[in-house]
Amino acid sequence: MLGYVWQWVYTSYLRYWLKWLIRQVTGKCELQRICSRYRPGATRTTSAEYSLRSSKSRVLRGALESSQDKLQQCVAEIMKEKNVEPQKDPLFKESLHTCLLQITGYSSLYMSVEDLRKQVFSSENGGHEAMILKLWDLLMPNVKLESRLTKQWGDIGFQGDDPKTDFRGMGMLGLVNLLFFSENYPKEAQHVLSHANHPKLGYSYAIVGINLTEMAYSLLKSGALKAHFYNTVKGAPELQHFHQLYCYLAYEFDKFWLLEEPESIMQFNQYREKFHNVVKTHLQEPDVSLTLTLSSKNERK
């Protein structure tokens, strides 16, 4: 209870007085201090985001909702509002701009991902059909698909004769993720598929993949991926960065599953939750970077 009162008093009064005091002493505003104290990355951008969001100034709060092409202008307005002289702090402008690119980029990434998720796989769409066939060719380079509707889809982990019914709530996002992994990490994807087809420890490659897309999507939606993207992308994160994160999850989940040796595929949701918690714990670390590190790096050369 006392903690709450203190929190309230702090955020509503003390924080402003303290900020004002430090400003008088150091001659620098809070944003300047954040940008000079921390290296580029999650700690800097997260602190800047907090500072902007809790600011009394509409100019500062407004910058968080700004579109990417107006960010330069926003930075200029913030510097004017805060009386920052470019000569005294030459690095500030660039640093703040990068922070804002990352912060607003995260929101627009979510919107692009959501657009893709809402696109329903359609057999009438030639592009969609080409993608699903390409996924087959990449995963099964030595086996020819006998027809468009076939039990063979089960070999790469779809449920029935037609993969289209498996994308469901993840829409085209699920297919794009699966395809991205196979296109950019063909060896790793085939390696994971071979584990998935293991007679005892196996699982359904494609639908587990679609479940992992859902994991990536809900992490993004909740804001849990902020630190990861602030650390790994210098500017605004784009769709390909989201797909990269999917690749990390697909690769790491497979390792996790094999290590855990579950009794059967029926235990999937239990281990999915366990894996989800491991990922969420990583995401709490300030220097988190969930990138696929290839154990077979030398092999690939």
């Binding site: 089960g154 709530g169 359904s204 679609i210």
Partner: protein, 182 residues
């Protein structure tokens, strides 16, 4: 509100746990139905690998609903969940006419299972929101439901997407649990 009133009807037998098994082919709508029962968001559903379970509790009643994945590969595991089942709910995609035969076969096999003998069965003729959906009467005929003599059964048309028909089905489930206890 809907589920609450159903549960109220079970009031005569307090602290009763009801084990409900949700089966059917893949893409029938089992998980959507489960989430509708638990009043959860249904827009991000993915194929079920393994199973989902949800308990809906109200006024001393506990409805344990087991939603088991329907893909062919994991159907052999269905039998691991038969024991102590109070009611079987079998979900059919009414618009997937190509698989009516397959779904009928699976249902017939379930009804032959010893561990499920006498267990009341509710068949949800799901996806009635689709224009191509077959009406429940047509499905009942196709599956020869009228030949079932060894248990209570009911077919209910519904749309797990819109929620239509679900309450009627669940009313029947509760009624059949009560009459079995008597």
């Amino acid at each position: 509100m809907g589920l609450l009133s159903i549960l109220r009807k079970l009031k005569s037998t307090p602290d009763q746990e009801v084990r409900i098994l949700l089966l059917g082919l893949d893409n029938g709508g089992k998980t959507t139905l489960l989430k509708q029962l638990a009043s959860e968001d249904i827009s991000h559903i993915t194929p079920t690998q393994g199973f989902n379970i949800k308990s809906v509790q109200s006024q001393g009643f506990k409805l344990n609903v087991w939603d088991i994945g329907g893909q062919r590969k994991i159907r052999p595991y269905w039998r691991n969940y038969f024991e102590n089942t109070d009611v079987l709910i079998y979900v059919i995609d009414s618009a997937d006419r190509k698989r009516f035969e397959e779904t009928g076969q699976e249902l017939a096999e379930l009804l032959d299972e010893e561990k499920l003998s006498g267990v009341p069965v509710l068949i949800f003729a799901n996806k009635q929101d689709l224009l191509t959906a077959a009406p429940a009467s047509e499905i009942a005929e196709g599956l020869n439901l009228h030949t079932i003599r060894d248990r209570m059964w009911q077919i209910q048309s519904c749309s797990a997407l819109t929620g239509e028909g679900i309450q009627e089905g669940m009313n029947w489930v509760c009624k059949s649990v009560n009459s079995k206890k008597k």
